[in-house]
Amino acid sequence: MRFDWVNILATVIFVSIVVTLILAVASYFAYKVREARRPKTASELRQEGKVKVFFNEYTPKS
């Protein structure tokens, strides 16, 4: 039985490109969902006036 290597390789390339593109779009979507669900950062909370600084600034004596 003779294999048609060109067609086999073309199928592998085709599938890998299509799957990668689908994976890329899906991962980007997952990233956006994760970002929407993550807790707000300190600077975001401070912008909304919901967080206060609870420590003193520190600088060495000299």
Partner: protein, 458 residues
Amino acid sequence: MATETPGNKDTGVTEHPEQAPTVKRPMRPITQLLISIAIIAVVVIATVFLFKYPQKLGPIFITALVVTLASFLLLLILRHFILIWFSYLHQRELSQDEPPDVYPFVSIIVPAFNEAEVIQSSLSSLLELRYPYYEIIAVDDGSTDGTFERMREFEGNHYGVKVAVFRKENSGKADTLNYGIRRSKAPIVVCMDSDSRLTPDALRYAVRTFADPNVGAVAGNVKVINRHNIWTKLQALEYIEGLNIVRKAQAFWRSVNVIPGPIGIFRRTAIEGTGGYDSDTFAEDFDMTVKILSAGWKINYEPKAVAFTEAPEVLLDIIKQRYRWSRGILQALRKQKHLLASTGGNITTPLSLWYMIFEGLVWPAMNIFSNLFFVWIALIYGMTKLLVMWWILLTILDLLIAIHAILMEREDIGLAIYAVFYRSFYILIIDVTKLFATLEELVGLDMSWGKLARKGRI
């Protein structure tokens, strides 16, 4: 306990009140998500339409597509050979460089926000530098994970190297770097990330470039330290290729267009002349680079000034990092758009910026569409040989480039095999992220800095 700040003199470096480039109330997360979904949907539907019903757009569409993609392939090959040629010329210059006669005093600024896992390793690496005369300024940007307490263990004098530790309210990386620069004293300032480790000879090699009085800054060589899964190995290869080919080629013209966050070495007068880091973009290192170039300074690259950095280990974190870089670069380019048409003086600055636009905007879209186009041709016209030949050509090109860069850098040759996955898999994912990030920047969607989880690998 606040005391008088040493070295807090009135320099050209300003301190900015806020981290994010936000002047209005941020959008609600759900609104941001819905806009992102709408953008994804529009892109996917437009792409499917384009390739499913090309006849509706007429034969001119097919011709334009073929011509564009043929140009893309030609450009790709030309780009590689031009970059290799200039990187070789820069390498030849470097081999003639001698170590400096005099080592100037250097201040190393280490900004940190919630880096408890890595900060001590980073500061330890700085105390091991083989350099005669330097100080370390570590600034905690209001961390909540014990970073400050771990920093303070290093405070004091270590065999002539002074480590000064500061803590301030959270205000972002750009502002924290400015805070440190204002409290430093040296004529040469090193800005680094707190998740980076410098190699012992990094400073000795970095300062030799400042023998040229026109050089305002030097970009160091960043390498990935955590190489234990496919994502980190692909990033390691990406850094090796990007730095060895692209940055070296740019350095031949003394117009390096990104001084990387993990290791950037600046002449104090250059950094002060620009007013310091700005907080209005998410790529403060690129923004600073453009400001220094536009002020007429030259920027060089020193491959032996090596900093190891911890790369994101999972796909979503890589996407997060690249999303921020892409939008940050676009924000900085928008700020400095007047330089794109500037022809007075140094022609390499506008060229360098146009190259960034090409790499950031045009290249990702063309790469995605060329992949789709070849798949489409193979499917519709049964031209499977063309698909295979195209793939083999690109893979051979990528493999040769990877081997060249790895040998130049004396890196692990085993990384070369990842070049096979690089273009057809990794870069495709990165390019999709860049495409969406560009579209979101164009519609002005809000974004925040975010924070990558550190594993403490450095």
